[in-house]
């Protein structure tokens, strides 16, 4: 069972998005233990689309689809009218750098990689659409491997 909604390209849409994920978890009986991590990944991907989608088609929105799978969820964020950019290929941040060398930004994708069971990127040329899919389950990678 999956549900999908469109959200305007704005940080102000975050409360609506979190409401959407929370309601889906409640309706589908998904373990709330993973809700915070799912919200984290959705926020990081969505805000990237807001920040770097400035050249996207005017009025275009981001579509978020959630499906209950294997005790957890599979989520797809689809951003149309944009140029391709495979976020899964972005290198890790240097998390061992001294504080003087640390800069805000760049941590979101690094953290996603450690929180999800799996993720992948697809670009649909006909719609100029970036599609990022991730899976998160209670028994997933982060839970099994630890930090």
């Amino acid at each position: 069972m999956s549900e999908a909604r469109h959200f305007r390209r704005s940080f102000d849409a975050l409360p609506e998005i979190f409401g959407f994920t929370e309601a889906f978890f409640a309706r589908q009986g998904v373990d709330r233990e993973i809700l915070t991590a799912v919200d984290f990944v959705v926020e990081e991907l969505f805000t990237n689309m807001v920040k770097y989608g400035a050249a996207a088609d005017p009025g275009s929105e981001v579509r978020i689809e959630i499906e209950a799978v294997g005790g957890g969820v599979e989520v797809v964020l689809a951003d149309s009218g944009v140029e391709p950019f495979d976020v899964t290929k972005v290198p890790d941040a240097d998390t061992g750098a001294p504080i003087e060398e640390r800069r805000p930004g760049g941590l979101g994708l690094h953290l996603i990689r450690r929180l999800v069971d799996s993720w992948d990127y697809e670009y649909v040329v006909e719609r100029r659409e970036s599609r990022i899919r991730f899976k998160k389950t209670p028994a997933g990678k982060a839970a099994q491997d630890g930090p």
Partner: protein, 97 residues
């Protein structure tokens, strides 16, 4: 939503969700903090990378002036995020009991 306010004995109390939409308010509040600042996170449910940016900027500014940021009551989710991001090496963190 996020609530951030001055608590007792100089402690700053933060509650709710520190996401990208709430960061400007949190940054504005913390920009006024001076010295060694204890941030009570026992009511902080969630932080994203945008929230980490707020803490990083604040910690850099305080350290440069001889102070620092100290986080208390940090929940499991926040501990994971701090650990994965290496922020446990640049912030003083006391986990929730």
């Amino acid at each position: 939503m996020l609530a951030i306010e001055q608590g007792e004995q100089g402690v700053v109390v933060v509650k709710g969700r520190l996401d990208a939409a709430q960061c400007p308010a949190a940054q504005s509040f913390l920009d006024k903090a001076q010295g060694t600042v204890s941030l009570d996170c026992s009511g902080l449910e969630y932080i994203s990378s945008a929230g980490l940016g707020v803490l990083l900027k604040t910690q850099k500014r305080l350290l440069a002036a001889g102070g620092k940021l100290r986080l208390t009551g940090v929940n499991r989710h926040l501990q994971d995020i701090f650990q994965y991001s290496g922020f446990d090496q640049i912030l003083e963190i006391e986990p929730a009991r």
